[in-house]
């Protein structure tokens, strides 16, 4: 098979560079990589774990675990303002992590990286901050394929301000209708928010086009990068996006930490979100003046160890290389798609031209929960349900899907186990 012969079935991988599978697998040295992830050697229900729930949370390599252990064994101290060595070393490590994140996403200034507890926190920070910038004649646009974290905060914002929430519709393939989007845009549009990659469908959205068109009418854009960041290295300056959000736990990092990227001018304009230590310059009972960026948005003791370990996760992934990761994951998804579609009655939701790492599917006549339960018995971890994207399920009029989501440490052999498992489940359940 050759790149120019891509069949219709795989038309959604037009950008796919065809290479011999074994070559890629060995180029990446998957066996060595897998050894970095102790959890992959676990058994579940007496079977080797096949972890295909990476879109919910990714696994953690020993390099990141070691960073955490090292932190608590050698560095643990509260940061900023501390005169003693431990505090200064911990501060340096934390700020170094911020710098790594800055570099990874090609962000202009380190203080445009705000540490948060994750994407949900990041989005709420922005949505709350916009309260005083919107009024009832304004409109905000949301894509039809958002995660609840990128819907509910904006609904709450619209409730507070009276602004109107409008939905950018999508096709049955799970692609945004860009002509409709352009029609929805107007001088009234103040905000547009959209994910970079849909966690339920795997669609890679054309965010550059979305951002540019929004800027054309003077609207501000937040891109939810939670699902994209493990697969695509975004160049935030090139994208010219106003806000971008990431969760560390979805990209080999620890739980409880993430970032909000914001353009400096926006971060200066937004009011502080939480009050507390660190985020102030001067406090009296009469009046408080706020500190400079990034501290203005980092009230209280942050997830210090989490931030440092996030930096280690980026180091780990960059050492492998995002080009390699993308190429390999695309290959895996292509293979899994091909194999799954051999099962009669199996339907894939999300067949956009550009997609990554997620296969959402159902089998005619079977509830996704049943398939997930049988797969679990076989040691295979997939997610079932609405994936915090109920509007998508409503769109397809289904209760949910089975979602297999892939990472660079998954293998073709695991895909085979999945496919066999789905067949077994089907035979038991139908």
């Amino acid at each position: 098979m050759d790149g120019r012969e891509i069949s219709l079935q795989f038309r959604f991988f037009t950008s796919f560079k065809m290479t011999n599978k074994d070559t890629i697998q060995s180029k990446l040295n998957i066996d060595t990589i897998r050894k970095d992830f102790p959890i992959l050697f676990r058994e579940v229900n007496g079977r080797p774990l096949v972890y295909l729930d990476n879109a919910a949370t990714s696994q953690t390599p020993r390099q990141v675990i070691n960073t955490i252990v090292d932190y608590y064994q050698n560095l643990n101290a509260n940061i900023h303002r501390g005169v003693h060595t431990l505090s200064q070393e911990a501060t340096d490590a934390y700020e170094e992590a911020r710098r790594k994140i800055q570099e990874h996403f090609n962000i202009a200034k380190p203080h445009e990286v705000i540490f948060t507890s994750g994407t949900t926190h990041s989005i709420n920070l922005v949505a709350t901050g916009f309260t005083s910038f919107l009024d009832k004649d304004d409109e905000v646009l949301v894509s039809a394929m958002e995660h609840h974290s990128n819907i509910v905060p904006w609904q709450m914002l619209c409730e507070r301000t009276g602004a109107k929430l409008k939905v950018i519709p999508m096709t049955v393939d799970g692609e945004l209708k860009m002509e409709e989007y352009n029609k929805l845009l107007s001088q009234k549009t103040k905000l547009v928010f959209c994910n970079h990659v849909s966690n339920a469908l795997g669609t890679i959205n054309p965010i550059k086009g979305i951002i540019d068109a929004a800027h054309g009418v003077g609207a501000t854009v937040l891109i939810d990068g939670a699902q994209a960041a493990a697969h695509i290295k975004a160049d935030l300056q090139a994208l010219d996006v106003d806000f971008y959000t990431v969760s560390a736990h979805k990209m080999c990092g620890p739980t409880g930490v993430g970032i909000l990227y914001g353009k400096e001018e926006w971060l200066n304009k937004l009011p502080p979100y939480q009050g507390g230590g660190e985020m102030i310059a001067e406090v009296t009972f009469e009046k408080t003046t706020y500190a400079d960026l990034p501290h203005k948005f980092e009230a209280g003791t942050p997830n210090i160890c989490g931030g440092i370990a996030f930096g280690a996760a980026l180091d780990y992934m960059n050492a492998i290389g995002f080009d390699m990761i993308t190429e390999y994951e695309d290959e895996l998804v292509r293979y899994a798609t091909e194999q799954l579609l051999t099962i009669e009655g199996l339907k894939i939701y999300g067949t956009a031209k550009h997609k990554t790492s997620v296969i959402s599917f159902n089998i005619k006549g079977i509830h996704p929960y049943d398939i997930g339960t049988i797969l679990d018995k076989l040691g295979i971890a997939v997610r079932t349900g609405h994936h915090c994207a109920q509007p998508i399920m409503d769109f397809y009029q289904i209760p949910g899907t089975v979602r297999a989501s892939f990472s660079f440490y998954n293998t073709k052999e695991e895909v085979d186990v999945l496919v066999e498992g789905v067949k077994k489940a089907k035979s038991m359940l139908l």
């Binding site: 229900n45 079977i366 509830h367 929960y369 049943d370 339960t373 049988i374 018995k377 079932t384 349900g385 209760p399 949910g400 038991m428 359940l429």
Partner: protein, 150 residues
């Protein structure tokens, strides 16, 4: 299998549970147990369609489960349904044990037989299948009827 649902008018909850444990003990592996459970699900006394509404849904399940209860003489009769077949099997097992029993007996019933038939993994309150919510709901109905009786 419908036999079971009729028979238990004469049997105590304890006896039915033992019977279920006996049946499941014949199987060597989880696959056979699940297949049997799915089989049992197919014999579940189905809820009348009029009750398949939000009011009768049990929360805490990934799949939908509706349960209805009514008093027949001095006994509670349950009917149910689910859109997932494994869930249907689970609720079928519960109903087989609890339906056609006196409210107080349902309230007092022990449910450790679930563990014995190899469904232990469903017993944690945090589980997405909602087994614990189902037991709670069945017992709540019993409590409601017992209160009426007092």
């Amino acid at each position: 299998m419908n036999r079971n649902f009729e028979q238990n008018e004469q049997m105590t909850i304890q006896e039915i549970q033992e019977e279920i444990v006996d049946e499941f003990s014949m199987f060597d592996d989880w696959m056979q147990r699940y297949e049997y459970m799915i089989e049992l699900g197919k014999s579940l006394p189905l809820i009348d369609d009029q009750y398949k509404t939000e009011d009768y849904i049990i929360k805490g399940c990934q799949s939908k489960v509706w349960v209805h209860a009514q008093m027949k003489d001095d006994k509670v009769v349950f009917t149910a349904d689910s859109d997932a077949i494994i869930t249907k099997g689970i609720i079928a097992i519960l109903i087989r044990a609890f339906s056609n029993q006196k409210p107080q007996d349902i309230i007092d019933a022990d449910t450790s037989f679930i563990d014995e038939i190899g469904l232990k993994e469903h017993l944690s309150p945090t589980r997405a299948n909602g087994l614990v919510s189902m037991i709670k709901q069945l017992k709540l109905y019993a409590v409601a009827y017992q209160t009426q009786l007092n």
